[in-house]
Symmetry: C2
């Protein structure tokens, strides 16, 4: 299948990630499964701030049910607050580590989903295998992961090229992959599924409007001035203070350039468990 | 605006490029303009084999009209045959060079379109300026161009990396740009339009099914064994016979790998003439 795969992008820094903008490749299949089984059960692995989990729960109201998990127990009350605020009640929260063992029986869920999780794991195929374990035969494992190496930016500022190299190095140092998107299919095969069980795709997102540029650039500047890019960059000697300042100045120049644009591809897979 | 922008991709080597798969970003606006003016006039610049031109003509039947142009007069009878075969009659063909002067009065067309043309021109902003000249105030200039540097391929074979470098060098040597997609917006601004006249996007396409891999790889092998990549690669000393053979072997390995995938981003702009 050749397809573009994504609806409008998630926008990490200025709008909520939702099922619509971050799991669009899954929604038609989810609707089909939900129609066949109104009491569908969905597991969201690595729910983070929980906005995708909550909008997935909304998509399978009233009788479908979501369990949203994260390895960081601290984030789950915040995720719950998001759903509470929206009056979404068909969702529960639970701490879980997909790389040790998910606290669920085999064949529990109709759909097991993750978003921007596998890219940060040292053994992504093991995570997919564990997601398959808890999924019912005939059910779906769905994953969407960025492919940082496809980052596409204009203007071509040297400070942005340095930034890209630093960001990719920090992901790699943490055991993740800056080429996750393109590897999703191969990870699924390593997890033991056959090629014809997988529907892969590469979607894309794009920022270029003035307000989008401003908000995105501010997020990058924050990461460079007080986030992990700064702390890991300096402690690992991947960047000097001067390098970080050059990157900050480049993002500020980018944000103010009328011809500026930024995009990235997102790998997407639907795996049917047999 | 942040959007993914494309419907299913053009598939150069195994299906026809159509308005649906190669100009999807334009179709909603075209439908709107056509509704307001059933006698809409559309110019297609660099029509090539003419399949997009013909399907654009079909989209504005019966009273809309397309003129399909190309700098190569020889290709136009073939383009006409495509439309004739499909019974599409609201289209005419004419030789034209967008970088010298299009043979049309100012403000002639409601929509002026090109696809994979600007990436190959030494002065793309001049081409956009000329497209704007022949477009009516209130009309649209639409362009979609690949961004070869976003090419995203797995597995990570050294022969494919060499191929990418060769392909980008051949485009650059011919005066084109391997980063055309991301530059479309800046080229439009260079052509004299203001930022708020332009709606830019980055779409994507993806091949991974066995039949898609086979057909795509065969196209690449043909280019390496008897096409421009071979002739220019060797004559410019960008590649040796051994390099070309390594690239051929890499595409054959890619085609036979179950985990293989290939994608690329496509820049897209709609420019409203004021």
């Amino acid at each position: 299948m050749a397809h573009s795969g994504t609806p409008p992008p998630q926008a990490v820094h200025h709008e909520l990630r939702t099922a619509e903008n971050s799991a669009g490749y899954l929604l038609p299949t989810l609707a089909e499964l939900h129609k066949a089984n109104p009491r569908l059960r969905l597991l969201d692995v690595g729910a983070g701030s929980g906005t995708i989990s909550a909008t997935l729960a909304k998509a399978i109201q009233p009788d479908g049910h979501v369990i949203a998990t994260d390895i960081e127990a601290d984030i789950l009350p915040r995720a719950k607050a998001v759903a509470d605020l929206a009056g979404i009640t068909n969702i529960d929260y639970q701490e879980a580590d997909v790389l040790s063992r998910l606290p669920f029986e085999d064949s529990t869920f109709d759909v097991t989903h993750c978003h921007q999780v596998l890219a940060h794991l040292p053994r992504p195929a093991d995570a997919i295998r564990e997601m398959l374990r808890v999924t019912k035969p005939g059910g779906i494992v769905a994953a969407r992961e960025g492919d940082l190496e496809t980052e596409c930016v204009w203007p071509d500022l040297p400070g942005l090229a340095k930034f890209h190299t630093l960001a990719a190095a920090v992901i790699s140092m943490a055991g993740g992959s800056p080429k996750a998107g393109r590897q999703l299919l191969s990870w699924a095969l390593q997890a033991g599924v056959s090629r014809d069980q997988v529907t892969p795709g590469l979607g894309s997102w794009c920022y270029s409007e003035p307000q989008e540029r401003k908000v995105w650039a501010q997020g990058m500047v924050d990461a460079l001035q007080k986030g992990r890019l700064r702390s890991i960059g300096l402690s690992s000697k991947l960047a000097t203070e001067d390098d970080l300042q050059e990157m900050v100045a480049a993002w500020e120049e980018w944000a103010s350039a009328d011809g500026a644009i930024l995009g990235m591809m997102q790998g997407e897979i639907l795996v049917r468990k047999v």
